[in-house]
């Protein structure tokens, strides 16, 4: 990758990935969003407010924590955890919701729509809307509504209107379809607060920028603690927002290797997984050209993962670009391994991770053993596991 090259280009492409594959009605709205974001980006007062609320409201900076007992257990490289789980609402999602919420207010759009899978982005969006006094409507697949009753209640408590989606596979992918349909219909007064680094330009770059605060902090913190950069950064990848957020500020640090961990679900060979980069092909979904899980006829496939946040058949275009140029390596970890890592982190560190970053923990802990003690791995611990208790109880076959 050439360092002087600014990506995405003016058409929203990371080389062959990205773009704006949306109905005509949304093209002016995307143009308006792009202009508004470019202006906000150049406005120091916008970032001053973002930084101040990130600090006082969300709880930044999050610590970079040396996981000493996990490191000892693995018997190799030193493992550091970037503690996004300690943020307000329990996950990195709040970074993006805050940034886009401020942008929506600046654009004078008072009606906010969002999609959610497990409910983490929905909760983050509802939280920021409550804080900024904006109306919030959250689309959520019916299947997920049933699986995540507590988050549904939480969103309602925060003043959001929840709209269950009964079309298609009734999960995240269909919630995004429905949010886009709402946006097409109410485009004049509505802001679509997309939750991951996916979708049409400028969403992937905008979400990356708001999430890059993770990597910027991590870079400073590791330099302060170890006086050197890490050898590996490992993050889970669904749509890929937490991963791109921690990767991107290190992109020109050539010796820092990136590993994105996707959900292998029941196993890649079973076809019941959500590993778009590992097992997918290039296609267009939700307005962007990227790796997707699709059949021979170009129909998007259903996905499966124990972690609802990784349960998505597409991925952000910048990850597809990183894969194509070899800047990042993408691997997959299945449900069972993720569950094991979930328990391992609880027992070695007293930290309950969300099932999403448990995938990253799993890969990191296996990899650490094969490295020497001088080497450093930073894992993005993107969220807290409280939301997953029901699922883990069930998966472990425990009777409460």
């Amino acid at each position: 990758m050439r360092e002087d090259k600014q990506l995405p280009d003016s058409h929203g492409y990371f080389e062959e990935f990205g773009g704006k594959f949306v109905p005509e009605t949304l093209m002016p709205a995307l143009g308006e969003l792009e202009t508004a974001y470019e202006e906000a980006k150049r406005d120091p007062s916008f970032w001053a407010e973002f930084d101040s609320l990130s600090r006082d409201y969300s709880g930044r900076p999050t610590p970079l924590y040396f996981a000493e007992r996990l490191t000892k257990h693995c018997g190799g490289a030193q493992i550091f955890l970037k503690r996004e789980d300690l943020l307000h609402t329990g996950a990195h999602k709040i970074n993006n919701a805050l940034g886009q919420g401020l942008l929506a207010r600046r654009m004078k759009k008072r009606r906010i729509i969002a999609e959610t899978g497990a409910g983490q982005h929905g909760v983050a969006a509802a939280t920021i809307c409550a804080k900024l006094g904006l109306d919030c409507i959250v689309y959520m697949g019916e299947e997920d509504v049933q699986r995540q009753a507590l988050n549904v209640f939480r969103m309602k408590l925060l003043g959001a209107e929840l709209r269950p989606v009964s079309s298609g596979t009734r999960t995240l992918k269909d919630a995004i379809n429905e949010a886009i349909r709402d946006w097409v219909t109410n485009v004049r007064n509505t802001y679509y607060l997309l939750g991951s680094a996916v979708g049409p330009h400028p969403y992937p770059v905008m979400v990356r920028d708001f999430q890059s605060i993770i990597g910027k902090e991590a870079r400073e913190q590791i330099l302060a603690k170890c006086n050197r950069l890490p050898d590996y950064i490992i993050a889970c990848v669904g749509g890929g927002s937490n991963a791109i957020g921690i990767f991107h500020p290190f992109v020109n640090d050539k010796n820092v290797k990136f590993i994105g961990v996707e959900a292998a679900g029941r196993g890649i060979k079973t076809g019941r997984h959500a590993a778009s980069l590992v097992a997918g092909t290039v296609g267009v979904l939700h307005g962007t050209k990227s790796y997707v899980l699709q059949d021979d006829a170009g129909q998007i496939l259903g996905t499966q993962s124990i972690s609802a946040g990784l349960d998505y058949p597409g991925v952000g275009p910048e990850h597809s670009y990183y894969k194509s140029i070899g800047r990042a390596t993408y691997v997959a970890v299945d449900d069972k391994e993720a569950l094991k890592a979930f328990q391992l982190l609880c027992q070695t560190e007293g930290i309950v991770p969300a099932l999403e970053p448990a995938h990253a923990i799993s890969y990191a802990s296996k990899m650490a053993g094969s490295l020497n003690k001088e080497q450093i791995i930073v894992v993005n611990l993107s969220g807290h596991g409280d939301k997953d208790m029901d699922i883990v109880v069930k998966a472990l076959g425990v009777k409460l």
Binding site: V22, P23, E24, R181, T185
Partner: protein, 257 residues
């Protein structure tokens, strides 16, 4: 001149363009209904290749697409059906589908196959002109029209862009929203059409929401064609004998004369 363009050039009336989802409710229905519509005064027929994530479509066409996919409809099968239909109908046929199935098939292969079986044009609602350059190379090579869309939200600049790039006709989306029968069309419909008309000589066809002969008549006063989709799908559902859908088509035809 393409077959679509010449059908507008020769027409003495407003074009009637029905949409049906291929394979809904069954392949047999598609094979029967296309010749019936052609002989009931339709000028062009839009054949929808179902896609798993039809984000420009409302509930009716979503459900039709979902059912068609469950029955195993693929682009390949759609080509075979068109080949069969071409023995029986001469009016222009256009495919309406989303970009991913076309991309997956291969842009060049898809267009070549379209030309081979007798498809005249493509409508791809998630493909704005900015993203259409690759596909345009293949549609041009194979003499297909690539019909772009405009919406009431389109800026002057975008009207110019779409007007310069759309071929066959321009698809004007009557409202900001998804497909689906509406009781009322927006008041600014006429001014929207007139505004586009000032900038192009290409035929303008209005679709989305159209569900009654009265609405069709209103559109006919300003546009060159009327596109009707969801209401037809509903009628195919309600009356499997196809009688209701055919008499609806005839009512529309009468309203447009």
């Amino acid at each position: 001149m393409s077959r679509i363009a010449s059908s507008f050039a020769q027409a003495s009336h407003t074009a009637l363009i029905p949409y049906i989802t291929v394979g809904y409710p069954s392949v047999e229905t598609t094979l029967k209904v296309v010749p019936l519509f052609a002989s009931s005064g339709c000028d062009i027929i839009e054949l929808g290749i179902p896609f798993s994530d039809p984000l420009a479509d409302g509930a009716t066409i979503q459900r039709a697409s979902y059912e068609a996919l469950r029955q195993g409809i693929t682009p390949k099968l759609c080509f075979e059906l068109v080949q069969e239909l071409r023995q029986r109908v001469e009016i222009p046929l256009v495919f309406m589908t989303y970009y991913n199935p076309v991309l997956k098939f291969g842009l060049e292969q898809f267009c070549s196959k379209c030309a081979e079986v007798g498809i005249d044009g493509l409508i791809i609602p998630d493909l704005p002109p900015e993203e259409g350059k690759d596909l345009e190379q293949s549609t041009k090579r194979h003499g297909l029209d690539l019909i772009y869309l405009l919406s009431p939200a389109s800026t002057e600049e975008r009207i110019q862009l779409v007007a310069s790039r759309s071929s066959g006709f321009i698809y004007l989306v009557s409202l900001t929203g998804v497909t689906g029968a509406r009781a009322k069309l927006p008041e600014e419909l006429e001014s929207f059409v007139a505004n586009v008309r000032k900038r192009t000589e290409k035929p303008l066809c209005v679709g989305f929401g159209v569900s009654t002969p009265e609405q069709a008549r209103r559109i006919a006063k300003v546009a060159d064609g009327v596109i009707v989709g969801s209401r037809i799908i509903q009628l195919l559902d309600e009356d499997k004998s196809l009688g209701s859908a055919c008499s609806f088509i005839k009512c529309l035809r009468a309203a447009l004369l």
